[in-house]
Every structure is written in structure tokens, then in C-alpha cells.
Amino acid sequence: MSALTFRLKGEPDERIDCSSLVPDRLKSLGSSEIEKLPVGTTKRGLVAGDVFEISGDDAADIRFEGGSSRLDRIGERMSEGAIRVSGDAGFRVGRVMSGGDLQVEGSVGDLCGSGLEGGCIRVKGDCGAKLGGPDAGEMKGMSGGTIRVHGNAGERAGDRMRRGTILIDGDCGKDAASRMIAGTLIVGGHARGAPGRLMKRGTLLLMGGAERFTPTFVDAGVHDLLILKLMADGLRETFGDVPFDGSAMRKMSGDTAVLGLGEVYLPA
């Protein structure tokens, strides 16, 4: 068996909905049925065969070759298997994904990993706003799984995050972990805005510091905690390298404007 490959015929002239091109859905379909799956978002009614050259037959190993920022909803609701995108992808990549492995070689748009429940998403480039956050009207962001972004992240990464781990190597936009409920967000670079604004619980590691904190965060001193070492070791096993080593860090407690049981760690 060879990887089921969707090779982009050319830059799409409309946004493409790839939510049906996931292992869960494709494993029971033949090639002719896959070609007829609707992927268009306009009244033209584009199907997969119009947009992609399709080859291979292993639905547990899906490849998108020739990425585009117009390829939306890749890996949405997938629960098993692997998807690899050799290029950019659009918004909602891996939204409400519950299992499996999703890798994007390029950059992705907003709401990547939104509502993530399980599995692992890796983005080699940058990502847009609300990484792992809730969609409009939703009360919770991601509730499990792991996201690794090698580049920078947009505004409000980890918004209303409930559980799971986000690891951003680069900088992050304004107000990361806003309204965080629990979980862990690690930023290797600088965090703009006021990270952790209105966070109730949860853990933030900001290795490049923060632009500012709201006055409702309080300094809790420098602490050498075993959990930081275990997290560094555990994430290193998954990702190979992480932007912290588990040594002592300064803790800020907050946001006391709400529950106040969140924790932000900064280099000591």
C-alpha cells in the first residue's frame, strides 16, 4: 500500500473544504468515490477530483502535496491515522481532532487545533490566531492532545484552553492563554500583550518573557520544581527538542481577577 496522496493541480480559485479527506472517512471509500467527494465552497460544486490528482490507497496515511492557504479544515474531526501537508494550509486545521498525527510543513491559518480533543498537530511554520482556541460561540478551547508550532503564533493562542499542551517555539501574538481554564502553554519566544489575562487555572511558560501582565498577577518567587523537569523530559521525548530545560523559574500567580489559580513561569 502507498500513501493516499492529494496532489494540488494548481492554486485553487476558491477556498477548499478538506474536512472530508480524513482517514476516518476515506478508509471505507474506493478511489472513484473519493474523487467525487465535495470539497468546493461555492455554487460551482467542486469535487476532490477537480482540485487534486489522487493516487495511492492507504487511507491511514494521507498526504497533501503542494499546499495552499486556501486548503481549509484539513484533518478536522480526524480520530486516527496520519495526515501530512507539504506546504501551507488554511484555517481550522485539525479542529476537534481526537486522535492521530497531523503535520504541516508550511504555515496555517486561524483556529488551528481549535477544540482539539486528542492526537498531535505539528506545524513547521507559523500559525494564525486562536491556536487551540474555541470557535465562535463555544465555551471551551482544546481539551486534550498536543500542538507544536515551530514558528510564531497569532493572537490568543490557547484561548479558553481546558486541557492538553501547546508548544510554540517562536513568539506569540497578543493575550496568549486568555481565559485559560487549564492545560499547558509553552512559548519559546516573546509573548505580546498581556498573556494569561483572566486565566483561572493552567500553566504558562514564557521563555522569552512577556510584554506585560495585568496588575492582577502576583510574583510568587523563584522555584525549582520537579514538574518542570518532567515536562521538559516528557516533551523532549515527543518532540526531540523543547525551549526549556526544567531548571528553576520565576512564578507569577494569577489571574486574581478570576479564580487566581493559574501559574506563569518566567526565566529566573
Partner: protein, 306 residues
Amino acid sequence: MPVIELAATINGVRIDDDFAEAFPMCGTAIQITAINEKWALEAATKMTGFATSVIACGCEGGIERVLSPEETRDGRPGVRVLFFGFDPGGLESQVTTRLGQCILTCPTAACYADYEAETTIDLGSAIRYFADGFQVSKKFAGKHFWRMPVMEGEFLCEAKTGYTADGVGGGNLLIMARDVRGALAASEAAVEAMKAVPGVIMPFPGGIVRSGSKVGGKYKGMMASTNDAYCPTLRGATDSKLDDDIGSVLEIVIDGMTADAVSAAMAAGIKAITDLGPDQGACRIGAGNYGGGLGPHHFKLKDLLP
């Protein structure tokens, strides 16, 4: 005249044609680490105190071995501890009570699961409420931890650990010598050899029991009483199983995560005793059983000879 049939004589040590009768138990393993080996052992010793017999202590527990920093989850010195109970509920109750009183309280100690299994019992999940709402749950890399703020700093404990229902309790050897010095020397040599076998503990003091028991007794309500057949001072007054040259008997009880582990430990013990010989150690090795009708595991000494 031998009281029990002889299976073999090795290096002058007589080995009974008898068997140890053992029972199924639930077993679990945890890893205790601390800032140095002294404090890891302190925590482990406290936690495994008063855990010699499941009947009176609620569980049987002991230190399996000391772990180097390279072997532990957090890179600090540590100790692997095993516990055994009749059922998962009883095992969990004992382990979590001891965890709360002996590991949570011990300076710098942390506690991790050390047995992978589908079936689990609580560790940190059971004692997290001590943190009075300040406890923090952390899940990453497939593991779940509870962090509990304490006066020293933070107590870190894994949420659960696995257990096996295929554990075995009550493997044993009876070490018979001319005097107590010989019995003790042979028993100590056997315990040292058994410690090298993974997955077993010898839960009694120093791994050795001087007061082996039989089931029941003449007094109402006694679940166990002295094993008079092996008491040298009662020879002639009871149905003794001791030869004339036996002046002292000690027992080693072995609990293991598997029957194979118990078997390997008994074999290692027999070899150590026979290597020592009767002049410095024991002149006879036997095993305790209840006729074979109670425990499903029968470890025949003749199958374990070196």
C-alpha cells in the same frame, strides 16, 4: 530417620521432597525518589513498615531495590517498592494511606507509577485533596500527575499506578540449621541472593521470619499460631518434622509480581544456602504448605535445585 522424604543432598545440605504452597495476590510497584538516596530510603522504609503479613497488616510490602538516578523518572536517586494485597480495593487503600502518611510527608520525596498495566489503582488521585483546592493536575506525554503545594515546596505524585492480579504471595523456604547462628547465616545469604531477582520482595524483617505459623490454633479466633512442628524446643512434645540435628529454623517468605519471579527467587535462595554448606549455614531446606489444598501455586523444591 528423615521426617520428610529427601529430594536431594547438595554440598551436605538436605533438601526436602516438599513444596511451598502460595496464593494469588494483587501486586503493584511504585518508584519513590528524593534529593538523595538517604531520603529515598527513608521514605520507602517508612512506607513499607508494618507490611509483613496481609492478614494482620492489610498488605505485604517491601523494597525491591535501590534505583540509580539514571533509572528513575526524575533523574534523582530512588527506590522501587512493591506492595501486595488480597484484592485491588484493599491494595489501593493500603498504598494510598501509606503514601499520604509516609511519602507526602517525607522531605523532597516524589512518587511515580512503576508498573504498566491496563488495570490501575489510585496514587495521587486519592490524596490530592490534601492540597485543599490548590492541587494542580498535569497531563503530558501520556502521563498524569498531581502537584500538591506543601510547606517545603511542591509534592509531585503520579495519578495512578498499574497492578497485576497475577501476583503470588507466600512462596517460602524453611531453613533448618544446627543452631540459630547457622540458620541466620544461611537465611541472610539466601535473602541477598533473592534480592537480585527482579519483581520479588521478602516482606519480613531483613527478609526473614523466625515465627513461622500454621493455620488456626487451639484458641478461638486465632487465624494463625506457632508452627509447632518446626519448633525445635517442642521436639518430642508435638508431631515434630525436625531431625535430631536441627536446633533452629528460620523462614523466608517471598511475594512476587509473577509465579516465575517467586520460583526464580526460591531457586536463588536454595543455591545460596547449598553453596554455604551445613558447617557455616543450614543442614536442611524445607518448605511450608497446607497439604496443597488451599493455594493454587505449588513450588516443588526438587524442581528448583541448582
